[in-house]
Subunit: 428 residues, 2 copies
């Protein structure tokens, strides 16, 4: 994979203007004199530069990878090749889930730069959730996205040769995987310089996580699964900050963490971030019960995410299960069909168990690790925030260590509901 | 990966002589006038040409891949690139398990040709087992080979980045994996042109395997695990025909099926082939009880293979477990050490379950699939052979479908012992 680091340079507004002006498709789309284009750097993510460019007839979004982690700085280098993997993943997702990712307009391997459709008036879903906005179409869209991108890149749909080629094509994205391995599956459970939490209120809880050997075994099993279970092409970072929404539309963005991994990691990411939106909601209410309808919608959406995903995934398996796994030739006749259907249910139950575990890991890292989220961070009163966070952690700990007691998604939402007003003991 | 098929040609004796004569290291090793070297084609495997070349001072073995499956002919093409993967795997095995593989002397990518140390007076272990020969050092050697090659290429020893690079390096060997996927995990369980068995005696058993939906589910789970669990660099074809022995030495050969897969597949292959040697033994005795000591040794060796492998693997994990999985930093202090050790035992128990399943699959394919083995084939009387084969299949079916009832390797050998004189109902 050509990284072309030799000719790479970080683009500033003027360079970007010149670069785009040289691309006829884009100049036509933007319209007007390139000198008059409005260019603004808006990146608020952890890793990249993001520009919005507007001309007289339209706009585009431009993403450029930086050779280091933007959140931390040049001391933490990160390969530009992630832009290549993001481009690969986005292309595949566009084929598999048309209309649910931004349209790809241009990619420059050397500059680690991708130009995409400007999503307007979409906002980052997480911001909407903090504001208490409901997205009635979200569960339907995200389950279509996940069912189709995961199923069609799995052994249930592909030949073993195609699958191995896919795994190899993304194997080089290991630096991004390593971020997940460290920040999600390791650091929150040990002393690490980059960890932070709502001190002093969660100090004792932080210590208890570091001393909790059952939790360490559970998170280590999940980590191994993350590293060595290439079930399907994952988005790899499917939280509500990687999803843009309007009242009626959903677009999944930023698949630079894409690689072949366990399906439960993507589904668990969506569920974890909805659970955090639920627990954070209490911290955003100005009057008791003000956000009750929103909170009920969040829990219902969590249920619909799993149920809808499972239903769509199973339907694809039944109608398009032509991969090398579970060959139909071994399940001929009515008895074979019945037995295969029972096995499909067993498969989904196993997958659900992994979703529960991964969702827990994705929750704990946002409360004790490096990267937090605005669901909690925007709760200004630290004690109020700590209470919301402690509730989420209590559920996450149970989901990770007593995973088997969560047999259905209703067990997860039921446990969340019970913790809505639970008062944790805080430090400090 | 350069396959160089453009300049590839199948070597005949004269071409090979010229090729080797141009390699100073080899001419020195062989000695004498190249024109006087004794060159014999001895390949009796399923895929390749194998030459033995002898000069005045020494000999070498030369293996050349053919662009098709030798056992079947040009109608079944097979990529020459397998010689590249074999070379890669052999190089890695030589580093990890020195003295347990033949020394590599020369590799030519274009000709898909590898020159190795001539193993003399070693014989193919399977031939020795048919003759009733005991190999007291075998269990010790093969457990060292498996523990070291599997552990040091796993997430327990490697960084996630190194592991992903290894997976990618072998991903292109999917045509060889496909042979395993079809011939071991699929064809024996359905009507397939290449299937054969000891007819008519096993006709009813063949039908019952094709109708056995519990077995089809079990073998499909194993197939999926084979395709999508890159735990470690496997030999990939570790039967007793891939092992050369003397009374005191063991050498593992022919790793052309190498890829990153589930560890239980290699360990299961060794155990399956010893189990088949055990059940075949009754068919080779000229007088009742004649081979009792040999058979007792085989069962004891099966036990030692698992017990020795598990002991050595665990010891490596304890002393060299510096990979990204189960990071020691999460298991500090005496409580952490105790909990991690318990988890290691859980890990090995899970691995044992997979060994049992894969051993069963490796057994059934040798009795109902394309490639049989001389353990059974050299039993001349078809009915006697069918009796031995039916005993092996009865155990294998239980191992695959009731895997959980085999908790220890003693459960496996105990079940084999009970079937030693069991009389199956035969067809015909």
């Amino acid at each position: 994979m050509a990284q072309g680091q030799g000719d790479y340079r970080i683009l500033h507004e003027a360079d970007l203007r010149d670069h785009l002006a040289g691309l006829p498709d884009l100049t036509a789309r933007l319209g007007g004199d390139p000198a008059a284009w409005d260019i603004t750097e808006v990146g608020d993510g952890n890793l990249n530069l993001v520009f919005i460019v507007k001309g007289t007839s339209g706009g585009v979004a431009v993403k450029q990878a930086l050779p280091y982690v933007r959140l931390v700085g040049e001391s933490w280098p990160l390969p530009l090749s992630r832009a290549h993997y993001e481009y690969l993943a986005l292309s595949r997702q566009a084929e598999l889930a048309p209309g649910l990712v931004p349209a790809l307009l241009h990619h420059d391997e050397t500059l680690a730069l991708t130009v995409m459709e400007l999503l307007e008036p979409h906002i980052i879903m997480r911001k909407g959730l903090v504001a208490g906005t409901q997205y009635p179409g979200f569960a339907g869209d995200i389950t279509t996205f996940m069912a189709r991108t995961l199923f069609f890149t799995s052994d249930l749909a592909l030949s073993a040769a195609e699958k191995k080629e896919g795994i190899a094509a993304f194997a080089g994205n290991h630096a991004l995987c390593k971020i997940t391995e460290d920040l999600i599956f390791t650091d929150p459970y040990r002393i690490a310089e980059q960890n932070r939490w709502t001190a002093p209120y969660l100090d004792a809880l932080a210590v208890s996580l570091r001393d909790d050997m059952e939790l360490h075994v559970a998170v280590s099993r999940l980590k191994l699964k993350f590293m060595a279970s290439p079930e399907a092409l994952l988005h790899g970072d499917l939280h509500t900050g990687s999803i843009m929404v309007t009242a009626s539309q959903t677009r999944v963005i930023d698949p630079e963490f894409a690689f072949y991994g366990p399906m439960g990691f993507d589904v668990g990411a969506v569920i974890a971030n909805l659970l955090m939106a639920y627990f954070a909601s209490a911290g955003h209410e100005r009057a008791p019960g003000e956000r009750a309808a929103f909170e009920a919608w969040v829990l219902e959406t969590i249920e619909q995410v799993w149920i809808g995903f499972a239903r769509k995934f199973l339907e694809l398996w039944r109608t398009a299960g032509t991969g090398d796994a579970y060959p139909v030739s071994l399940f001929a006749g009515p008895q074979g069909a019945t037995r295969l259907e029972a096995e499909r249910q067993t498969y989904m139950q196993r997958l659900f168990t992994e979703v529960v575990g991964f969702a827990a890991a994705k929750t704990i890292r946002r409360i004790f690790g490096l990267a937090h989220n605005i669901d909690f961070e925007l709760i200004e009163d630290a004690k109020t925030r700590a209470i919301s966070e402690a509730r989420a952690v209590r559920l996450a700990r149970a989901m990770m260590v007593e995973t088997g007691t969560f047999r259905t998604i209703g067990d997860v939402t039921g446990a969340a509901r019970k913790l809505r007003n639970w008062m944790p003991e805080l430090s400090g």
